[in-house]
Each structure stands twice: as structure tokens, then as C-alpha cells.
């Protein structure tokens, strides 16, 4: 137990903060605090340029090994970077899927050729990635994906047909990683493959999905005879589920600490409004603001504990199993608190046709927090079945 950062870590923190304050200025001033959840469709071009500025400064992929352009940064340093990035108002990272999902997956499961082909583009902030997991019929039940990948002997490439859904940043990305069925005779998590597929080809069609926010952060992606090279499968045909699950393990990582800094910014804004409009005098709202503060502290302690107890064998500790449920519920309640602090004004939009204020956007977007990345119901099943060892929920026959 040593609840503080080392002198070296504090120096690193200062270095990060100095660089961000020098660089997140001028042309990039206007994208501070922008492009986060609920705001991903804004300033995309500027955020692409920012990704490259980060790369030039050596601030992309800092947790990757030095051999692949990273800093080999310790967990503590990655935490510090994410905290300082959020504190400085660093914009939503368009490169985060490549950096935090594709990269670690290739480092763990990829061939040397795949690493050489794809890691530098991610590291340079020039090649963006999106995620091809969910399908209309495969949400919580991810293993029932029906997108089909067949090896086409004539062209020597993989041919992909099917549909993915809820794909963020699809129209901005150069590549998508796709979980697809390589053996149609095998069910569920057997007979799947994990593919690296270029987006810019005739066989891929993207359709934005308008959300109840009036904006479209998600897309449907249709594959009609889309292709990738023979070498663009990670692992062997049939290994797809293993790779996909490994990837989901990378998703729960250090970025949560930066996420909590954003939460703190949101809570601070709510407190500021409560003070200015008199809501802070309401005893019920005061209690809820205090509860929000307590809840955020608990999240922070838990994730610091989670990161310092990194077993590194791919197994998930109990605290990491509760984390999604904990933050999503907390954040959804924060959205509700924001509306209650605003009072009757909460209903009124900023402008026509459907322009939301920051807090309205927070409220609406947090309705989805308890759904994406594994619903609260699925999370509770994971906690009950894997953490507590309770009997598995019965499943149907027709898979």
C-alpha cells in the first residue's frame, strides 16, 4: 500500500501537462473539451490533425513497447497521461480504437507482418480504425454473429458478406476489424475469424444511425463482397472468439482514469449551475450532489486498485467486473441530476432544429451508458456467474 505517485511520476505529470498546455492552443484551442461521448461528430477534421500533433510529440500509444514507437510507459504513467489529457480538455481521440484495441490485439495475437503493416499508421495518428462486432441479431449475444467470411480461391483473398451495427467513426476510418463466421456449420463462438478490413472499397456501405439526440455517432456498415488480403486474418480461422475476447480485455484499461476526469468536469459544471440558479439550496439536490461526489471517488479508488493489481494473465479481477456497471450507473444518475438541477429549463433546447446544450447532451447520451459495451443486465450476469460462481443462466436451443 503506497497511495501516492513517485517523484519520477510527478515529473512525468508535469511534462505531460506542459506539452498539452503548449500544444492544445492556437488552432487547437477550439477543440478543447470537444468530441467526447455525445459530441463525436464535431470537429472531426481538426481532431484528425490533433491526432497527428500528438503523434509528433510522441504522445500516441505511450503504453506500447518502444520497438513499435511507444514509450513503454508504466501503468502509472498511462494513468497520469490520461488524467492530464482530460484535465487539459484534450478532445475526444479519433485514434482511440486503433491505439487501445487494434494495437494491443495485434501485439498479442498478430504476426510480425501484421504489426509492421498496421502499427506504424496507428502510432502516427494517420490510420484510424473502427470496430465491427455487433450485428442486428448479435448484440448481447455477440457470438451469434452471422457476417460470413469465405476464402476466395480465385483472388486469394477473404470475401466478407454481412452487416455490422453501432459502429462509431465508420465513415472516418481507414480500417475496420471484423468478427465474422469462417465456418457456417459451426455455431456460437466456434468457427469465427478476426479480420482486418480496409474501409475504402466498393463492397462496403456506411449508413449513419440517427439517435434520439438528433445526431449520428453510430453507423450501420454493410459488407457486400468486401475483401481483405489472405494475410489479414488475426490468428487462424476458428480463433476469432479468442482474439475478440482478448480485445475486450484491453478495452477495460487505463483510459477509465481519463474518463473519470471528464466525469469530474461534468460534476463541477453541475455544481456551478446549482450554485448560480439556487438549486444548491434544495436539500434533496444537495444530498444527490454529495452522493455524486462520493460515487466518483469510489470509482476512482476502484480503478486505481484495478490497475495496480494487474494480474497480466488476461484474467479479470472482481473489481474489474464491477467497473462497467458501477460507472455506467453512476454516470446515468449524473445525467438525471444535471436535468433536475436545471429544473424546468432542462426541457428547452439551445436552438432549432435540435441543438442540445452540453448538459442535455450529457443526459441523453448517458441513457446509452448502461447499454453499450455490455448492458447492465449482462454485467450483472458476469458478476454473478464469474465472480461469484453462481449457476449460468439457461440459454435457448436455436442458436
Amino acid at each position: 500500500m503506497e497511495l501516492r505517485f513517485t517523484q519520477a511520476d510527478e515529473l512525468f505529470r508535469a511534462e505531460v501537462a506542459d506539452w498539452l498546455s503548449a500544444n492544445l492552443a492556437g488552432e487547437f484551442e477550439k477543440i478543447r473539451y470537444r468530441g467526447g461521448p455525445g459530441d463525436e461528430h464535431h470537429f472531426v477534421e481538426e481532431r484528425k490533425a490533433w491526432e497527428q500533433r500528438l503523434a509528433e510529440g510522441g504522445w500516441t500509444c505511450i503504453g506500447w513497447p518502444e520497438a513499435w514507437g511507444g514509450r513503454g510507459a508504466s501503468i502509472e504513467q498511462q494513468v497520469i497521461f490520461n488524467e492530464e489529457y482530460a484535465r487539459a480538455g484534450g478532445p475526444g481521440r479519433v485514434g482511440h480504437i486503433g491505439e487501445t484495441l487494434t494495437g494491443p490485439t495485434l501485439l498479442a495475437f498478430g504476426t510480425e507482418a501484421q504489426k509492421s503493416r498496421y502499427l506504424p499508421g496507428i502510432r502516427a495518428g494517420q490510420e484510424l480504425w473502427c470496430q465491427g462486432y455487433s450485428e442486428p441479431g448479435a448484440g448481447s449475444d455477440l457470438s451469434s454473429v452471422r457476417t460470413r467470411a469465405e476464402f476466395d480461391e480465385a483472388s486469394g483473398r477473404w470475401r466478407i458478406n454481412g452487416q455490422k451495427v453501432w459502429t462509431s467513426l465508420a465513415h472516418e476510418s481507414q480500417f475496420v476489424f471484423v468478427l465474422a463466421r469462417t465456418n457456417p456449420d459451426e455455431k456460437a463462438h466456434k468457427g469465427l475469424g478476426f479480420f482486418l478490413v480496409p474501409m475504402d472499397q466498393p463492397g462496403i456501405t456506411i449508413r449513419p444511425i440517427p439517435q434520439l439526440t438528433g445526431t449520428s455517432e453510430f453507423n450501420e456498415v454493410f459488407f457486400d463482397d468486401a475483401y481483405c488480403d489472405a494475410s489479414d486474418i488475426v490468428g487462424e480461422p476458428g480463433d476469432g472468439w479468442k482474439v475478440a475476447m482478448g480485445l475486450l480485455g484491453f478495452e477495460r484499461g487505463v483510459s477509465t482514469l481519463g474518463q473519470q476526469m471528464l466525469f469530474q468536469t461534468e460534476l463541477d459544471e453541475i455544481v456551478r449551475i446549482a450554485k448560480s440558479n439556487g438549486a444548491a439550496q434544495d436539500p434533496a439536490l444537495r444530498q444527490r450532489i454529495a452522493e455524486a461526489h462520493i460515487g466518483l471517488r469510489t470509482l476512482r479508488y476502484n480503478s486505481l486498485r484495478m490497475l495496480s493489481d494487474n494480474a497480466d494473465d488476461g484474467s479479470l479481477s472482481r473489481e474489474s467486473m464491477i467497473y462497467k456497471l458501477a460507472w455506467s450507473s453512476w454516470h446515468r444518475n449524473l445525467g438525471k441530476l444535471a436535468m433536475d438541477v436545471l429544473g424546468p429549463e432542462a426541457e428547452l433546447l439551445e436552438a432549432a432544429p435540435y441543438e442540445l446544450s452540453k448538459l442535455q447532451s450529457l443526459f441523453l447520451f448517458t441513457r446509452a451508458d448502461t447499454i453499450y459495451g455490455g448492458t447492465n443486465q449482462i454485467q450483472r450476469n458476469i458478476i454473478a456467474e464469474r465472480a461469484l460462481g453462481m449457476p449460468r443462466e439457461p440459454r435457448g436451443e436455436a442458436r
Binding site: 441479431g137 424546468p344 432542462a346 428547452l348 435540435y354 441513457r367 440459454r395 435457448g396
Partner: protein, 364 residues
Amino acid sequence: MNFTFDDDQLAYRDAVDSMLQAEVTADRIRARWESATGIDDALVEQVQALGLGSMLVPESLGGLGLGPVDFILLAEACGRVALPESVVDSVMVATPLLVDVLDRGLGNGSVQRVIEGLCAGELSVGVGHPINPCINFADSTDWLLLARGEALYLVPTDQAELRAVKSVDPSRRLFEVNFEPNPEQRIAEGDAGAALWRSTLNRGALATAAVLLGLSDGIVRQCVQYSSDRQQFGRPIGANQAVKHLMADVAVQMEYARPVIHRAAYTVAVAPTRADFAVSHAKVAAARAALLAGRNGIQVHGAMGYTWECDLHIWVKRAWALTREYGGEGFHKNRIHQWLQQPNALLGPEFTFGRGSLLDSTAA
């Protein structure tokens, strides 16, 4: 003691309910979003044909002479289909306020004429209670009932200044309204004005509570359907306790609200000056049910529930808006608190339905 509705009341509810279920579909609500006024005139005529325009107007003024208990099930039916038009506000808030003015021997020549117009379905009236920042569909009204301090004004809409603002609910057409008080348009002031605004608040909050209950019901119906159809892990998602319990929790909250709303309607009818606590309880309970229905409804629909294409948000956004209309949870809990803190508050089973308050008229 009889907590039920009679056959006439239920038959009226069924007639209105089946007309609304047939005519107010999600597609037609979406069509209203694209239209200039946001109002379906043909639907308004059908509502009028069922007698809603005059139902709460006394027979002496040419109405049906019914009361809040008769209307409360109809208000719920309007909520069940997420009816955009201000039918509930007009029947339950604007019209009774005008009737109240006449009952007190107040008003000017316009009041009776406006009531007759409402009965005939020839005009519409909006109410600007100071607790609400805006008036829904103010631009489509002929007259507005507006406040300046305690005074009440009946103002031709074209003499007021309307500024459109956008609601999170695309079905609502909100306007901030400003006006120059004209003494000739003042129809009540002082204590009488204050009393009129106070009973308007109660009618508005009660009507809103009934609509919220209907919205909850509409949400649950959609969720039951969706969770029965949608398959994951080889069976309907609704087979999972984690999913079905989300809806069971809403059902519980709805039944916590339903008799409370009915009781409040009864109290508004028989003892309107002592209805504050009953109405506030109804608003708190109905809002709680509707917010849970919205939250759990989105959850049951998964990511689909977060899309514009899924009809669910028509209901959920209305619920979000109406929980704040005519006082939010904090306001109404404070009213209950104040009522409980009175030195002579009548607590105990014999006073559950206000027998004591009839014995001691100073109590409330």
C-alpha cells in the same frame, strides 16, 4: 367506500381510448413534427365529436356537466398514445379556470363567449401558469390566460408577444409569452386571482400526472412487445429475469401512482381548496413511474431504444418534459412537507380521505 369507476365512466374511456389508439399512431405523430402547426386538425375534430370540449363545463353553460373523476381516465388515454395536441390542458385546465372565474362572479364579457366557443370546438385557449416557463402550442390558440402577479388576464393571442423555443420533445411547440397588461383584459386580481392560479396549478399537476401514467402504460406495452419479439441467446430477451424485472418494477410504480391519481381527482372535484397534498402526491408518484418507465424502457430496447427511428423516444421525451410541467418533484414534495408540518395536520386512518377535514374546515 368505492374506489372504482362506474360503467358510464369506463364506457367513455373505452370510446376515447379506441379512437385515439386508431388515429394517433407513431407515424402520424412524426408527421406532425414536420408540419407547420404540429397539430392534426382532423384529430382535434374527432376529439370534439366525442364531447371532450364541453365535458367539464356545467350544464347551465351548455356543457356536459361532468367532473375531474370522469375525465381522469381520458387524460390517461391521451398519455397512452402520447397525444401531442393540448387536449388535456384545454379540457382540464383552461376551461375549468374560465368556469371558475364565472362562478366567482368575475370576468368580463369575453369569458362566457370563450367558454361557449370552447364547448362548440370553435376556438382554443392556452394557459400560462407562472410555474411553467412556456405555453405549449400557444401559436395555435385564439386566447391566452396569462398571469401578472396574482392578476389573471384573458388576452387575444394576437395581442401577446410569442417567442418560439424548442423542446427536447419534438411533439411540443413551446412559446415564451410576454404581454402588456391591459386593465380591460384583467378578469381577476388579488386574493381571487391567487386562488384561481392555485386551483389551476392543482388541475394542471393532476392532469399531467394522469398523462404521465398513460405514457408509462404506452412505454410498457411497447417494451413487452419488443422483449417478446427480440431474440438473443436463442430465446426472447424478455425471458430473462434481468429484463422482465425491469418492466415489473415499472408496473409496481404505476400501481403506486394509479389510486393516488384517482384520489387526487376526487379531492379536486369535491374539496378543491384542500387538494394540494393529494395532487402533489399524485404528481410525484406519476412522475416517478414515468421516469422509471422511460429509463427501463430504453434499457429493454438496448441500443435500438437509443435511436431516433425507434418510436419509444416519442413517449420517453414527453415523460421527461411533463415531469417538470406544473412543478417538479422537489416542488411537490415540499408542498407535502408543508402540509404535514401544519400544527393541526389531520393524520391517522380516520382522516385518510379527509373526513376530519370536513369536520374542521380550518384544518387545511
